[in-house]
């Protein structure tokens, strides 16, 4: 078990700086998810930790060891690859055993360790099969077994579920969470799927263009995003962000001059069905599209402030064209011109006075 630290790490490919002066600390025993759009440097981070790439500058520490010069096989790391990377010419047994063999573990002991692991992942009857004769889920389990059998200090997962179908993916997600609980080892997990990140990690690191945008627990990231990028990356659909200029006339005078954008989550927008009670921004909107997802409904609406999305858990409004919505003041997020969060203690604009609408539309 080990804590992992990246200190001022930079990585340059040719003229392309993919990572600039990154500092990252991954707690011992945590399930840390690195998430971000493609090209954000999450896989590079992973490969640097695993030793598959060399840092251009900076230090990587695993536990109390500086591992910059340590070969990948000697870092106490196991990795599960996106395409499993099973050795095609070896049987399941050979695949799982290969790492142990290189660690010079005697044959009898190896056999015991392999048997134990295949029992856990339920592959006992497939020991003599070649990987190409296994299904996707089985291959995934072989890859897991191969990683587990070495009893590493750190597990690294590089988008391991992206090749599985939706149902199996859900199942494997639960299995991985249970596995982490049982082993208590540090897990580092890379994905571009924010649902995976939110549901699995106990810590999320959101990356963009080689920089850490935010590192926090999943709910913290959702409720308290540090900047516009995180706000829009986490949550489905993404947070609506509107320039404050578009809301002129809907708000009172802006007191805080730093504020440039206002954000709000689609699920926080209230569709007015009765007399207005919540204090917030009122906007008459036109319905553009409706997506019904069963338990919830997504609307794309157009208002004076531009287009935005609304998520509602009520029954879909099928025959309506115009609605009134309220965006509660206490659910607003404020960002400056750079997209950084502006934290405010009280409403950063003058209230227009609570007006009660008599108009009921639905």
């Amino acid at each position: 078990m080990a804590k992992i630290q990246l200190k001022n790490v930079s990585k340059v490919y040719g003229n392309n700086k993919v990572m600039d002066d990154m500092n990252l600390e991954i707690q011992d025993g945590s399930f840390t998810v690195l998430v971000g759009p493609s090209g954000c440097g999450k896989s590079t981070t992973l490969r640097l930790i695993a030793g598959l790439e060399e840092v251009t500058s900076g230090e990587i520490w695993i536990g109390n060891h500086l591992v910059n010069e340590v070969a990948p096989g000697k870092r106490g790391i196991s990795m599960v690859f996106q395409n499993y990377a099973l050795y095609p010419t070896m049987t399941v047994q050979g695949n799982i055993e290969f790492g142990l063999e290189n660690m010079k573990i005697p044959k009898a002991e190896r056999k015991k360790m392999v048997d134990e692991i295949v029992e856990i992942v339920d592959l006992t009857e497939y020991l003599d099969k070649k990987p190409q004769n296994l299904s996707g889920g089985q291959r995934q389990r072989v890859a897991l077994a191969r990683a587990m059998v070495k009893k590493p200090n750190v597990f690294i997962f590089d988008e391991p579920l992206s090749n599985l179908d939706a149902k199996l993916r859900g199942q494997m997600r639960t299995e991985l969470i249970q596995l982490h609980k049982r082993l208590g080892t540090t897990f580092i997990y890379v994905t571009h799927d924010q649902v995976e990140a939110m549901s699995m990690g106990d810590e999320i690191v959101i990356l963009n263009k080689g920089h850490i945008m935010q590192q926090a627990a999943p709910m913290e990231v959702y409720h308290n995003p540090a900047n516009q990028f995180v706000a829009q990356f986490i949550g489905t659909p993404a947070m609506n962000v509107i320039s404050i200029a578009m809301l002129e006339g809907k708000l009172g005078k802006i007191i805080d001059e730093r504020i440039f954008y206002i954000g709000f989550r689609p699920e926080h927008v209230e569709i007015q069905t009765a007399e207005e009670t919540t204090s917030g921004i009122h906007l008459p909107c036109e319905l553009l599209t409706i997506e019904t997802l069963g338990s919830e409904t997504l609307y794309l609406v157009n208002s004076d402030a531009g287009q935005f999305q609304v998520k509602s858990f009520n029954n879909p409004l099928m025959n309506t064209e115009k609605i009134h919505v309220t965006i509660p003041f206490d659910k607003l997020y404020y960002f400056d011109t750079q997209g950084n969060r502006v934290y405010v203690d009280e409403l950063p604009f003058e209230s227009m006075g609570k007006e009660v609408r008599g108009e009921v539309l639905i």
């Binding site: 096989g73 990795m79 996106q82 990377a85 290969f98």
Partner: protein, 274 residues
């Protein structure tokens, strides 16, 4: 897509023509090797001998130190094969998987050697070997072919197809580079290696020119040179004996080919495991 009947028939006819063109000399060789000397001369030619004269083979075999030739041929062909694998596999692995200084220039040089006509190289190599006193030795027949640019090229292509992830997984499993090469790369390139080995074996088993130039005594002569000498018996050419010698020459190749043909087909269709 279904092909229509006339096209199918044309296909079959075409195939038959090709088979005849390729198989005819072969059949002619075998049939001649079983004829009497008289039968080889008559006109119109006879396709099948009246009586199968198996003694032709004995006569061919006994008309020179053929056992010596045969052993020499085996040593030379197998020696070249082994040396080439030893040199070609690491070179191909390095060219396919490593970044090092002047890699492209070096690889270019290897490729250039394929473009130089063999005839240009023979003389300097001959002089070289004669300086090293390797004329008329088996080493003189083996060493000039100790590596193969074509082999390096072909194997490099195969190695390049192996997904990088596999090697990374092996490195994380604390595997040495040598072990990666031998336990990952080589088994995956098996069809290519067998094909290379077979081409190699056939080429050098059949090679006539170089052993002829290099050898002056029976000590180092190989089968093709020995068999060519059958022509000089008695001034006239005993075609039946000569062909019997040729059949003896060809049999080992036929046997190897028979066992390797499935692998050869795989070498050209191999796409790796998804």
């Amino acid at each position: 897509m279904k092909t229509s009947l006339p096209i199918k028939i044309l296909n079959v006819i075409g195939l038959i023509v090709v088979v005849i063109i390729f198989a005819m000399p072969f059949i002619w060789m075998i049939s001649t090797s079983l004829k009497t000397l008289g039968e080889t001369m008559i006109f119109p030619p006879k396709w099948l001998p009246d009586e199968l004269i198996w003694e032709n083979f004995m006569e061919a075999w006994n008309s020179g130190p053929f056992l010596q030739y045969f052993i020499n041929s085996v040593i030379v062909s197998v020696g070249i094969l082994m040396l080439q694998f030893i040199t070609v596999i690491p070179a191909a692995y390095a060219f396919a998987r490593y970044e090092f200084r002047c890699k492209n220039i070096l690889f270019g040089l290897v490729m250039v050697t394929m473009m130089i006509p063999a005839q240009l190289i023979f003389l300097p190599v001959f002089l070289n070997l004669s300086e090293w006193r390797l004329l008329d030795t088996l080493w003189g027949l083996i060493l000039p072919f100790a590596t193969s640019a074509f082999g390096i090229f072909m194997l490099r292509q195969t190695f390049k197809q192996v997904p990088e992830e596999l090697l990374e997984a092996a490195r994380l499993d604390n595997s040495s580079e040598f072990k990666i090469m031998m336990k990952m790369m080589v088994p995956m390139a098996k069809p290519t290696l067998i094909t290379l080995g077979l081409f190699n074996f056939i080429t050098h088993w059949n090679d006539y020119f170089w052993p002829l130039v290099m050898t002056t005594t029976e000590r180092a002569r190989t089968l093709p040179v020995g068999i060519a000498q059958l022509r000089q018996v008695d001034g006239g050419v005993a075609w039946n004996i000569l062909m019997a010698g040729n059949v003896i020459l060809v049999i080992p190749i036929l046997i190897t080919f028979f066992f390797a043909q499935r692998q050869i087909i795989r070498a050209f269709t191999y796409t790796g495991v998804k």
